[in-house]
Amino acid sequence: MTRFIAKRLGLGLITLWLLSVLVFFGTQVLPGDVARRILGPFASPSAVTALNKQLGTDKSVFVQYLNWITGLFHGDLGTSVATRTSVSSIVFPALWHSAKLAILAFIIVVPLGILGGVLAALYEGRFRDRLISVGGLSATTVPEFVWSVVFILVFALWLGILPSTATAPPGSGFLTQIEYLVLPALCLVFVLFGYIARMARAGTIESLEADYTRTAVIKGLPYRTVVRRHVLRNSLLPTIAVVATQAGYLIGGLVAIELVFNYQGIGQVLYRAAIQKDFPVLQSAVLIVGVVYLVATLLADLAYSLLNPRIRFESSS
């Protein structure tokens, strides 16, 4: 087990390094320079040169990359060239914001999706199944920003029961913060429900057909008990793994929702950093999303092995 975790962490580090190299080469294609981005297209060239010098963005990108990597080993993510504040003061609050939203969305959508998927599986091929499968699918296909606007319209503007932005006023209590996050989380619920339900459905169907389910029925267990005790446990495993792969998307991929709800998540940070060519922020933010993604998949695998006693011993065979 520890071996397994250690190996995964090691591989994870390599992946993260590759990730930073990818981003590094990627950012090379962005035109213009940082000072130009900051001062705008109409600023005078001498101002641009002066500012680039001040920011250190006149140095070669390799040097910048090296500086960033060196800083990283000292636990320093560097300084944002656009806002000239420390990268950690930008990235970590954003990460926290993203995490809050993601967690809330997960808390709502995972049980719902699983419930939906299981119901669909139990009524496979019948109306309820169609309703859940096709309904979930339809919800998933509508882009999240459309859901955002629709929900704001209904819940914030017409009914006036929920705020139209996601950022709670400073100093708000826990419940208020949640209140502010309900709408964006709801969008994610709509986007993810179909996906999770689909997985849960497939897993449940598979486990309904398994020999052990047959054993349980033949034992004479009531159908409910069979489903609860014998089917669900095994059917949820693949769903967990799948849900975890969504963590990267939930943390770094919500630009559209974050923009519409004016929420300072890591998606917005990424987007802005890329547009402003804010290399240290971009690198760090991508790295963090990468870490979240890798940790989430690792945790999922661990959870998987906890729930599935077989895995622990077979992990690398």
Binding site: I14, T15, G26, L137, P143, V149, I152, L157, L294
Partner: protein, 308 residues
Amino acid sequence: MSSFGEPIGSSVTAADSPAVAEPTVGPGPDEAKVIRREHLALLLRSKTFIAGALILGFWIVCAIFGNLIAPDDPLRTNPVAALQAPSSAHLFGTDTLGRDVLSRVLVGARDILIVAPLATLLATAMGTLLGLVTGYFRGFVDDSLGRLIDAILAVPVVIVGLLSMVALGPSTVTVIFVIAVVFTPVIARTVRAAVLSEVQYEYVAAARLRNERAPYILFGEILPNVMGPVLVEFTVRLGYAIFTIATLSFLGFGIQPPAPDWGLQIYQHYGLISGGYWWPVLFPALAIASLVIGVNLLSDGISQAFER
């Protein structure tokens, strides 16, 4: 369920599957044709498949003959007639530039039906290649390519989109490229898993035992057997491609105006919903949803019918 130990990797043998005709009596070679015909019959009996095919068929007709069907020129602007609510003159209303939404939705099928399948096809091709290679050659190749795949998977779509758009310029080709980059690792993973289970089959060992080279084993022997998962993955990804194109449009990296692309239409008008102008968003959104659902129904239908 054969009574003598499970055949490796296939819990359902041909004999148990109701979908495959398995004559225990040796059949003639044209039995293959019969089977194909039975597959077809089975497909045609599947409501899921039929519904999907009808929806997709409708949009394909629109894509091909959209300009003929559309009541108006989807590109002609008339700002003074902007944002008219649906009426008999404009069944779906007009957009901010006074264009007929119905015409744009009908003609818009073309862009998505070219871009999404092309992008998905590219991703499927690359992902299949990667998946075959990483699944077959374990060890170093798998480890290093695997890391790379992981790394690409971890790059947020925004970044891929932005960088590609800047590097390649805003064009349909860029959109195709972005989707391909984003989907390739996902498909590679699925294919790799399929290959891993396929490699356990002894026909692969048998091929090695007659000195076949790796490329033949990969493409000649294994590929035909993983085409099932590849096909399913293709259709599933196709749905997501449509969705992703819309999101890319939202971030400004998508298909370029004045193309009547659905995602672009939604992006251009979503802000107007709060002003009560729902029609330029609703209809393209419905179009996207129906297309994705159609594709998914189709793929469900196919995979049910061909389930081994």
